[in-house]
């Protein structure tokens, strides 16, 4: 009998607890959240941080029966400032009717000025520590503009501009290779390296920033203000020191083994850029050894690809011809890689990880050279670049069109 009473008492206690629990603490209703898809960080004139939030308007994005997609933009922009990132984020609550939710923030944009003057090391900690913010977020530097301008721009095709930036970076890394999609985690890892070197992609707003914010920018078939991927930012000791474009950019991405496909133009028999060699996959290895206290590095890459365009009359059915083309392509690639290395040496940034490779394989030698690596040893480093290029296929045709024209008209 007493047992029954005690049991029921416990049950009662538990049910009361249950009732109390319905005022549950960590509950976040969907309608109480504002999804931040991109965040821009700038420095204001008085040295504080200004955050710009790109918030998704669910009703205008999903395209449901509401159908109000053309009336108002799919994203809304709010900004707030504070002495550090956490303060700015909390201050923004005064302007927004909901709680900022960072779990879906896929993009962080940092203004160029901030990156040059203060560096990005300070910004990393709050994002790293917060459980809601993901370290798989992509990082982008605003090239010649402020982060706010970049975040405010509306884009055609992709309703959410953050998606456009991310997808552009992803595809251009895969197809052209002059840009790099980096996540926070990767940036952190590279900034922790001895020289504090990192590579981050840049994005530029082409056109008028005021125009970019307007919805009727999208009403034209060729919008006046667009976003485009532009350049790779080079960081040393956490500060932005240089931008890489074209050859050095692609070469750097290549040496980092991050390139997937690109087009190499090969000169052929006097005609410049006569062949288009489309690479499909590549593998690059970096190794380093120390002989008598002097380091020697070597970069070896192995590329495979197809012929995309042949602008000279040439018969590609001959294996000997293909071999010559492969050699020519290899030479072009080697030139590009060497340009990239030279550029890095001029900037005195070891972005390719030679130092880290030395640390991994010969830690004792590394200890001796560590302190002067960036300024003394790296710029004078002898790098031996070897390229193996293979042309596997030539598309649907073998001889080029011009060669049959040439034959016919002879």
């Amino acid at each position: 009998m007493i047992k029954m009473k005690r049991k029921s008492l416990f049950l009662l206690v538990m049910t009361i607890m249950m009732v109390l629990l319905t005022s549950c603490w960590s509950k976040k209703e969907l309608t109480d959240l504002s999804f931040v898809s991109a965040m821009g960080i700038d420095k204001t004139k008085d040295g504080r941080y200004e955050l710009t939030f790109q918030i998704i308007n669910p009703g205008n994005v999903a395209g449901l029966q509401g159908g109000g997609g053309t009336q108002s933009p799919p994203v809304t922009i709010y900004s707030a400032s504070g002495d550090n990132l956490v303060e700015a984020s909390r201050r923004a609550s005064a302007r927004i009717s909901r709680r900022l939710y960072y779990a879906h923030t896929n993009l962080v944009v940092i203004g160029e000025k901030l990156a040059r003057e203060e560096g990005i090391n300070i910004l990393i900690d709050s994002i790293d520590r917060d459980p809601e913010f993901r370290i798989t977020t992509s990082l982008v530097i605003a090239n010649q503009s402020s982060a706010a301008d970049l975040v405010k721009a509306l884009t055609p095709v992709d309703k959410i501009p953050a998606n456009k930036i991310m997808k552009t970076l992803e595809f251009t890394q895969r197809k052209w290779g002059e840009n790099l999609k980096v996540s926070f985690q990767e940036v952190m890892r590279s900034l922790e390296s001895p020289g504090g070197e990192a590579l981050v992609s840049g994005f530029r707003l082409v056109g008028n920033p005021q125009q970019a914010e307007k919805l009727d920018n999208l009403q034209q078939s060729a919008p006046e203000a667009t976003l485009r991927a532009s350049g790779i930012a080079v960081f040393k000791n956490g500060k932005l020191i240089d931008w890489l474009y074209n050859s050095p950019a692609r070469g750097s991405v290549w040496i980092l083994d991050k390139i997937q496909g690109t087009d190499i133009n090969v000169d052929w028999k006097g005609k410049k850029e006569a062949l288009a060699y489309q690479t499909v996959r590549q593998k690059t290895d970096v190794s380093i050894k120390v002989i008598k206290g002097k380091p020697y590095a070597s970069v070896h890459t192995r590329v495979e690809g197809d012929l995309g365009e042949v602008e000279v009359p040439v018969d590609t059915r001959q294996p000997a011809v293909i071999k010559k083309m492969e050699k020519a392509a290899g030479k072009e690639i080697k030139k590009e890689l060497q340009t990239a290395i030279k550029q890095a040496q001029t900037d005195k940034v070891d972005i390719f990880g030679f130092g880290e490779a030395l640390e991994r394989t010969r830690p004792n030698q590394w200890e001796k050279l560590k302190s002067e690596w960036d300024d003394v040893y790296f710029p004078k480093l002898d790098v031996d670049v070897t390229v193996e290029a293979y042309i596997r296929r030539t598309g649907l045709r073998n001889k080029s069109f011009l060669s049959s024209v040439k034959e016919k008209q002879h």
């Binding site: 549950c24 969907l30 999804f35 998704i56 994005v61 999903a62 879906h104 809601e132």
Partner: protein, 540 residues
């Protein structure tokens, strides 16, 4: 139900005393005089209008008065006419009957019916009268002969309505226990199939029969079941559900520990695995004990189909069961606590839907689930013609209208429909009912603590399941404790030629089939007639 028991216990203390006095009085008072006996019978049955008393005279010169008493409707009238009355009234010339030897002579020589017995007290007399026997009372003898003439209208053997299969025997049990027992006897023809009958229920005196295969079934379990059945002291057993709830191991659990079925092949299959079947008169649902958790996900068809399809469908069923348990809870948990799990595009779409809905996700889920339960319950009672139309109309229209009115979001409607469909995939109705209840518990857990709440309730459920026993066998055998040998028939169903042993812990008699059962046909070529004509081009 609990108050029901309380009343029983207090009544119990009163009844036996009254019975005893009755007995003492009446044992001796089966009167000698026919008329007195008949009057007493009429008195005890309150002069019920369906009791037929047929007077006639027997013996040489029609000197001895006798009567047959039976209850119209539960007897086989033809049998009474043709065998009883005929033999008594017409063919009795040869015997000289007097009130000393009348009953013995009649039972041995005259009556041509199969089942006869003597009754000398009122209890036995009335109970056989109520079961459909005919009582032969002879003037001057204080015993009666009760002749088994059970008959009357019974339902014909029809198709099973609750456990349908595509391939397999279609007949299902009926309400008459005799027919049911016979149906199983027809499948299992071994003399080791033993039956034990008893009458349970003080007022209803329902026939309950225990059936098992001697040598395969576990004797200890048989003894235990017999003991528990004998211990039942209730006034009525209307359905096997009463018996189930009175003999089960643990009542405080949503999970059934005794299986029930209305198919004879299922009963036969379980008997062959060493289980025991309990038949209750008046219901086609037969109880099977001991029952394991995994049994409630098995259907008869699994054994008739081939092993690959049977395995996949069984896995599908378990998967659907899990979905029907946690789908609404997962939705609530993900949209209220763990929004990061969902891909961005989907969460934006969900957020857009929820903009127009006034309630939090938990209330919405709860509301939709309750509505669905109401629809389901109502759908059972609707007449067949309207039934299917209304349920479809109800679901679609109400759901659609609710979405348009902005009361629920479309995603919720989808989730609830998926849950409902998944819950029908469980073959056993009892398990499906448990799932319906537990689902609300999960939703509650999810609403208060998101995923953590779901996990906690899952842990509690698993712990609870693992602590149950069904007649001594752990409920979750053979998954836990893990007996690899018996696992060939749980979530998977390996080909018949691999299942050589009976489930351990249920039966000691291990070997079900011998080795070498794997089909090994000779190579195909060898089986074809090789007589070819000369110009036959096709070499097979």
């Amino acid at each position: 139900m609990p108050s029901f028991f309380k009343n029983q216990k207090s009544k119990n203390k009163l009844q036996p005393q009254a019975d005893q006095t009755n007995n003492e009085q009446t044992v001796s008072s089966l009167k000698n005089l026919l008329s007195e006996n008949l009057t007493l019978i009429k008195e005890k049955t309150g002069n019920s209008s369906d009791i037929v008393i047929r007077h006639f005279k027997i013996s040489v010169n029609n000197s001895l008065a006798a009567a047959i008493v039976y209850i119209e409707g539960i007897v086989d009238n033809q049998a009474i006419q043709d065998y009883l009355l005929q033999s008594l009234m017409k063919d009795n010339q040869k015997n000289d009957l007097n009130d000393q030897n009348a009953l013995e002579l009649i039972s041995e020589d005259i009556v041509t019916m199969g089942n006869v017995s003597f009754a000398d007290n009122w209890n036995d007399l009335l109970s056989s009268l109520m079961s459909g026997d005919s009582l032969l009372i002879v003037d001057g003898i204080n015993r009666v002969l009760s002749v088994s003439t059970q008959g009357g209208e019974k339902r014909a053997i029809a198709e099973s309505t609750t456990q349908m299969v595509v391939r397999g025997p279609k007949g299902a049990f009926t309400e008459s226990i005799g027919t049911n027992l016979a149906m199983v006897r027809r499948i299992i023809k071994t003399p080791d199939l033993w039956l034990e009958s008893m009458k349970i229920g003080r007022v209803t005196k329902t026939d309950v029969t225990l059936m098992y295969i001697h040598g395969i079934a576990n004797d200890k379990v048989v003894k235990e079941i017999r003991k528990r059945l004998k211990n039942i002291d209730i006034d009525s057993i209307l359905e096997s559900g009463y018996v189930e709830q009175l003999i089960e191991d643990q009542t405080v659990t949503p999970f059934p520990t005794i299986y029930n079925t209305e198919r004879p092949d299922v009963v036969a299959g379980n008997l062959l695995e060493g289980r025991i079947a309990i038949f209750v008169d008046g219901t086609p649902f037969v109880l099977i004990a001991p029952a394991l958790f995994i049994q409630f996900f098995q259907s008869a068809e699994d054994y008739y189909a081939r092993f690959d399809i049977a395995t996949s469908i069984r896995l599908l069923r378990v998967f659907m069961f899990m979905i029907s348990l946690i789908a609404p809870a997962m939705y609530v948990a993900v949209t209220t606590f763990h929004q990061e799990m969902v891909p961005t595009t989907l969460i934006v779409a969900l957020a857009a839907q929820r903009e127009s809905v006034p309630f939090p996700a938990f209330v919405e889920a709860f509301f939709m689930e309750v509505t669905f339960e109401i629809l389901r319950e109502a759908g059972i009672r609707l007449p067949k013609a309207i039934g299917s139309a209304v349920s479809i109309v109800g679901a679609l229209v109400i759901g659609q209208a609710a979405v348009q009115a902005g009361i629920v979001s479309p995603a919720m409607v989808i989730i609830v429909s998926i849950t409902a469909i998944a819950s029908f995939a469980t073959p056993s109705f009892d398990m499906a009912i448990s799932a319906r209840l537990i689902r609300f518990l999960f939703i509650l857990g999810a609403a208060t603590f998101g995923f953590y709440g779901i996990i906690l309730i899952l842990l509690m459920g698993v712990g609870h399941l693992c602590s149950l026993r069904s007649f001594g066998v752990p409920y979750m055998t053979p998954l836990a404790p893990f007996i690899p040998v018996s696992n060939e028939d749980t979530l998977l169903r390996l080909p018949w030629w691999t299942m050589r042993r009976r489930p351990k812990l249920i039966s000691d008699n291990k070997v079900r089939q011998s080795k070498h059962q794997k089909p090994e046909p000779p190579s195909s070529r060898g089986m074809i007639n090789q007589e070819m004509e000369e110009d036959d081009q096709n070499e097979t």
